[in-house]
Symmetry: C2
Amino acid sequence: MQSISELQQIINKAIANSQYPSTPKELYEPINYIMDLGGKRMRPVLLLMAFDLFSNDLEKAINPALAIEVFHNFTLMHDDFMDNAPLRRNMPTVHNKWSNSAAILSGDVMLIEAYKLIMQVEPSLLPEILNIFNETAVGVCEGQQIDMNFEKLDHVEIVEYINMIRLKTAVLLGGALKIGARIGNSSIEAAKQLYNFGVNVGIAFQLQDDILDVYGDPEKFGKQVGGDIISNKKTFMLIKAKELANGEIEKSLTKWLNVVHNPQEKVYEVTKIYDQLNVRQLAENEMASYAKKALKCMEELQVDECKKETLKSFAESLLVREH
Amino acid sequence: MQSISELQQIINKAIANSQYPSTPKELYEPINYIMDLGGKRMRPVLLLMAFDLFSNDLEKAINPALAIEVFHNFTLMHDDFMDNAPLRRNMPTVHNKWSNSAAILSGDVMLIEAYKLIMQVEPSLLPEILNIFNETAVGVCEGQQIDMNFEKLDHVEIVEYINMIRLKTAVLLGGALKIGARIGNSSIEAAKQLYNFGVNVGIAFQLQDDILDVYGDPEKFGKQVGGDIISNKKTFMLIKAKELANGEIEKSLTKWLNVVHNPQEKVYEVTKIYDQLNVRQLAENEMASYAKKALKCMEELQVDECKKETLKSFAESLLVREH
């Protein structure tokens, strides 16, 4: 199996070789722009790795892998608009650099382009691959909607939160792995195990993101540490803290949640409350439980142990990270 | 062949039977809302009619026909947001009734749902049908982008305008007919003729829309007569008028184009200029030339003359209309 960085290079090369029409440029420039912002290319790499567990002709998996990356960037383009985010990877977001309409319409074209790419599979597999892709795509949209709904709710349960991140983040990792496996002619059972592996890794990955948002090293994290605290985002950390807090701590938490100005002190004080309630440890425990579930799916998978190790170590690298 | 109203009923019944999940309701309610706003169901009816030219088992064409209608309504949902339109069919638009995010995200799900429906065809036809659908869908997005670009341009040529309406409006009619024909196992040649028929009908249809926007009977037209004049929309009428006007008429036209307040007088005066320059007749001539091209495609088509008549008369009903 090729190394992770080799697989990333394959994806980056495929992105660089993607040819979109030159006009209308307002439609196609934002697509090249967001695709060129970079990133770990985690989702298409997972697809290639799953394919490689069962088949050697990696060329066959490149277009479907690209489809997953184009789809992911379509969701980023639309979500950034919906979330009113000014920056992505320290660069202006599309709606910010061009216009709201550009973000909407270029995103729409990206979704269609993703379908053009995902359909580049053996005709006999096409209906099945499309079904997986459709189900995954709808799941991601539902996750984004539930996440936006949370902003207006006073109370969210941990189980609801896990369901939201499962849809918004994790099913796409699972879907990528499942598609890769099936294109490589895996058994249905193996594809299902890889899907479950991906979903559990994805949930653990998002929990790690929540932890890093509070406890990450500002120099390495790449975005503002404490951003979730400032915006009262209902992450695992905050939901758990609200669940556990009582007495003086509860009063203090409620007070700080209502603070809009003075963000620095808010981050400092809410983090102190998290420390008092031990929510970092609880989040790490939760994360570890999903990582463990993921590994169990992997153990059940009957493929070359050596190839399995590469996939396992990639998943571990996603979880033990500082940014 | 079943009558047009019977085919419309088949589509309306299929829409009424569409089952979306109940949650998250913010995502699915707008889909049911826009699909229930009604309309002529022109595009799916064209698909069914094209299918019926070659095959009898209409049941096979219903999901793909529904796909075209869902896709069309997805474009309306996103376009209404981009165009900042408050009303559609005298009802609040989705971004107006719910929120911008609802219009974006529900629209995204509709595009995925359209793919779920379009793929309900014989597996052997699936790649071809997806290719037609993808090409059509990208064309419609390009048309919307070009239309938005026109707003910022001083000068647009008639040929550029025709290209824009070809993409924004006409290719979807052509695509619907082509898909219907191929699902019905037509020859490639016949599908191509029907596509060209649809594109020419579509261009004629949009030109008729431009004429009705100025000269329609307010009671029958269903939207504000003169809306295009008030917003200086670069329709065939305005582009032609600018091309022909000189001397006093040119001065007067320029003056009225700069009038923002006093919309009623603006509509009256610009219409007077159109009358002086005979642009209504020129638009009708242009429309007639596309209708003629459409009929020529139809004449070349080798199918049951009786069935052909139904399709021809439906096309005529789209062109000789008051709303």
